[in-house]
């Protein structure tokens, strides 16, 4: 039976400031969902909240996988249950080699009951698998020896996120603007990579401002977020329309949220700046 990630009436605050104001969403394994919306509407906030970022406080609502609530689980426990986020801004971990990091991660995810200090997956198998995955994504195998994201270009960081996705094979993958900052060849590599990875065993939530990723990974559902709410849900054609015409018509159809968005921009003019 396929698993279900269910988000019900989620309200989330950062530093006491409400950002998400009642988000509901259901993603099944095997489905592809697109999440669109103007800058600052709360897409990354939803993504962070799903993986358990401690700064994002759930003030009400639930996140469940197959009926089991995740609200109180830490990011590690959620990852071991099969949640994965490809970060919009992956951080650098100086001095930690990509291969060492991934070997730990893969061991923990495949053996969720593992305790600290228990053995890691065999080196030889791991190396082989890593090499194959890297070649599949057109990555230089040398990256395995580099420190995690240190000195990586924007595009290299995004590829590193997809490599992790490939190695960890989560049940639910959230991709937060994985296609931005990539040159067009890289977008194709990443799109094709995701296409190969996203089978019936993976539910995918693609957060994007572009279309290429969605061409290769056609969403069954497109959601539009405005001022912390999902205001519309449609199919792939909605994504297409938003891409061609922007959010003006969405704002017209949802004046209340559009007004809230205006209000927030006035009080916090820097809020929509790219961090």
């Amino acid at each position: 039976m396929s698993s279900l990630l269910k988000i019900t009436d989620l309200h989330v605050s950062v530093d006491e400031k409400p950002i998400l104001k009642g988000v509901s969403l259901e993603i099944r394994q095997g489905e592809i969902h697109a999440l669109m919306g103007p800058n600052g509407s709360g897409k990354s906030t939803l993504a962070y909240t799903l993986v358990g970022h401690p700064k994002y406080e759930i003030t009400s609502g639930t996140i469940e996988v197959d009926g089991a609530p995740l609200n109180d689980l830490d990011p590690c426990e959620r990852a071991r249950l099969g949640l994965f986020l490809a970060f919009q801004y992956p951080v650098t971990i100086p001095g930690v080699k990509v291969a060492d990091f991934l070997r730990h991660a893969v061991t923990n995810i495949r053996n969720p009951a593992r305790k600290e200090g228990e053995g890691l997956i065999p080196m030889r198998d791991f190396r082989k698998e890593l090499k194959e995955r890297m070649e599949g994504l057109g990555m230089d195998v040398e990256f395995a020896r580099r420190y995690l994201n240190e000195g990586f270009s924007g595009g290299e960081k995004k590829r590193m996120e997809i490599l992790q996705l490939a190695m960890l094979q989560p049940k639910f993958a959230i991709l937060d603007e994985t296609d931005s900052g990539l040159d067009s060849d890289a977008v194709r590599v990443v799109s094709e990579g995701l296409q190969k990875l996203a089978g019936p065993q993976m539910g995918v939530l693609i957060i994007t401002h572009h279309e290429r990723l969605l061409e290769y990974n056609v969403p069954q559902f497109t959601h539009v977020m405005l001022a912390g709410k999902i205001v519309e849900t449609g199919d792939a054609s909605l994504a297409h329309e938003l891409h061609n015409h922007g959010y003006a018509t969405v704002r017209q159809r949802h004046p209340t949220e559009a007004a809230e968005e205006q209000e927030r921009e006035k009080t916090a003019p820097a809020a929509t700046a790219v961090r």
């Binding site: 962070y48 993986v51 358990g52 970022h53 401690p54 700064k55 830490d74 990011p75 590690c76 959620r78 990852a79 071991r80 949640l83 994965f84 986020l85 970060f87 992956p90 951080v91 971990i93 100086p94 001095g95 930690v96 990091f101 730990h104 991660a105 923990n108 995810i109 969720p112 600290e116 200090g117 420190y147 995690l148 992790q164 960890l168």
Partner: protein, 472 residues
């Protein structure tokens, strides 16, 4: 062979320190009474059957020790009671060439520390010091044939009296500081190494220092002479049982690296939390030579240690890489001294410290250049990582320069583990402890990668042990 169950003092919280066990002491050959006076010093010298000059050296140093006040800087030593210590403890008859001849209890201790195994795999020679004396020693035969000397300093005094007399106390005079004076008065054991001209020793020579008795004072004295164009890598490891009252480790290490020679001295110290570790280490580096201190300071109650390099002639280079980890109840006051005494000399210091659970890590460093020392370069980088809000890190860089024509760079940074880094690693299935340990391991990686593989693994393992059970 069955492993004896170690004696663990659970009531005082041995915690995660895995070397906190101790052996019985009833079969010891000799133990001086508690306390320190002329009689004790004379007794040590007599037991060792020393020449008159050494006895006088000791007694003069004792006077100096009593005259010098306690340092008022550095760490808190108010509880350090010199009269409550044992200054000389001899656990076995003498130094053995085979582990089978080392008394059972002691041999088992070294087995647990993994020394005989390491010896087989990757060491060129080993000294094992237990309490005051070296109980086991080995050196690869071909090195001995080439004239390499690796022995304990007591034996060296008997077997190579001229060499010892020529250099002993010349790098660190007794009057250098209170603890150097103390060591000079009651020293016992330590390594003596002589590497003849042009001989390059490929694998490390290792010494292992173990304190076993409660209130023990260990005062090894190490003297290393690297002759012209020769090279050696010497490694020392240290552990002690966990006791509820204090022990003292106060070593003196003197090194001479002659023209074109190379010496690397690596310390991986992991004392239990009741040890005061007050050590004086100094090297003189001559023309075109390279002296490196690699200093890993874990454990102890208080460590005060600032390995020094005197750059004596043009072309000499000095490098100190130092890692300090201060956990609960620990103060690591560590650093480096670089003294440029000649033109065209260079020095580099890289220090990384980690403090957690209320621990305190201080970097104290000195870069000095005399007025002859023109065209010198010195580069100092200190990075501190503080793991929680009740831990502490300080930097005390001192610069004394009588010269305009030189370059000194100093950088210091203090950081905390960023929430975003923890989230990133945890969102990939790492527990909080594992994630923090990984970040800490990455923080020291630039230094650890300088170590031979076996020691790098050991260093990372020790750091992981320190991190375990600490978070959450």
């Amino acid at each position: 062979m069955t492993m004896d169950v170690p004696v663990l003092e659970d009531d005082i919280g041995v915690g995660d320190y895995q070397y906190g066990f101790h052996d019985p002491t009833d079969k010891y050959v000799f133990q001086s009474r508690r306390g320190l006076d002329r009689q004790i010093v004379e007794q040590i010298s007599e037991m060792k059957n020393e020449p008159a000059w050494m006895r006088k050296f000791r007694l003069d140093a004792l006077d100096t020790f009593f005259q010098k006040p306690m340092p008022t800087w550095g760490g808190d030593m108010r509880d350090l009671d010199f009269q409550n210590m044992f200054y000389y403890v001899k656990a076995s008859q003498g130094q053995e060439k085979s582990w089978d001849d080392v008394p059972d209890d002691i041999r088992k201790t070294y087995d647990r520390l993994g020394i005989p195994e390491a010896e087989k795999k990757y060491l060129a020679g080993v000294k094992a010091q237990y309490e005051s004396e070296v109980v086991y020693g080995s050196l690869q035969e071909d090195l001995a044939k080439q004239g390499v000397i690796f022995t304990d300093t007591d034996s060296a005094l008997k077997d190579y009296p001229d060499l010892v007399r020529e250099y002993f106390g010349t790098v660190i005079p007794s009057a250098d500081n209170k603890f150097a004076a103390l060591n000079s008065a009651v020293w016992s054991g330590g390594s003596f190494i002589y590497v003849p001209k042009g001989v390059k020793i490929e694998f490390p020579l290792q010494a292992y220092f173990r304190i076993n008795t409660q209130n023990m004072g260990q005062f090894e004295r190490t003297l290393i002479i690297v002759d012209e164009g020769a090279s050696v890598h010497y490694v020392e490891g240290c552990t002690a049982p966990t006791y509820s009252s204090d022990s003292l480790h106060s070593a003196v290490v003197e090194i001479l690296v002659k023209r074109g020679g190379r010496c690397r001295y690596t310390t991986i110290q992991n004392w239990s939390n009741n040890v005061y570790n007050l050590v004086t280490k100094r090297a003189k580096a001559y023309g075109d030579s390279l002296m490196e201190w690699v200093d890993g300071n874990l454990g102890s109650k208080l460590t005060m240690k600032y390995p020094a390099i005197y750059l004596m002639e043009p072309g000499a280079r000095g490098e100190t890489l130092s890692i300090a980890f201060a956990g609960k109840g620990q103060h690591q006051d560590a650093g480096a001294k670089m003294v440029h005494c000649a033109p065209h000399t260079s020095s580099r210091v890289i220090s990384k410290s980690i403090s957690k659970d209320g621990g305190r890590a201080s970097y104290r460093g000195l870069v000095k250049a005399t007025h002859e020392a023109h065209h010198c370069k010195s580069n100092v980088v200190c990075d501190a990582l503080i793991l929680d809000s009740h831990s502490r890190s300080d930097t005390y860089p001192y610069i004394e320069v009588n010269q305009d024509n030189l370059t000194i760079e100093h950088e210091a940074s203090v950081s905390k583990i960023a929430e975003e880094q923890l989230l990133y690693l945890m969102s990939r299935g790492m527990s909080e402890t594992e994630a923090s340990a990984m970040i800490v391991t990455g923080f020291i990686e630039p230094l650890v990668k300088e170590l031979p593989m076996e020691y790098a693994v050991e260093m990372n393992r020790l750091i992981e042990l320190q991190m375990e059970g600490s978070v959450g």
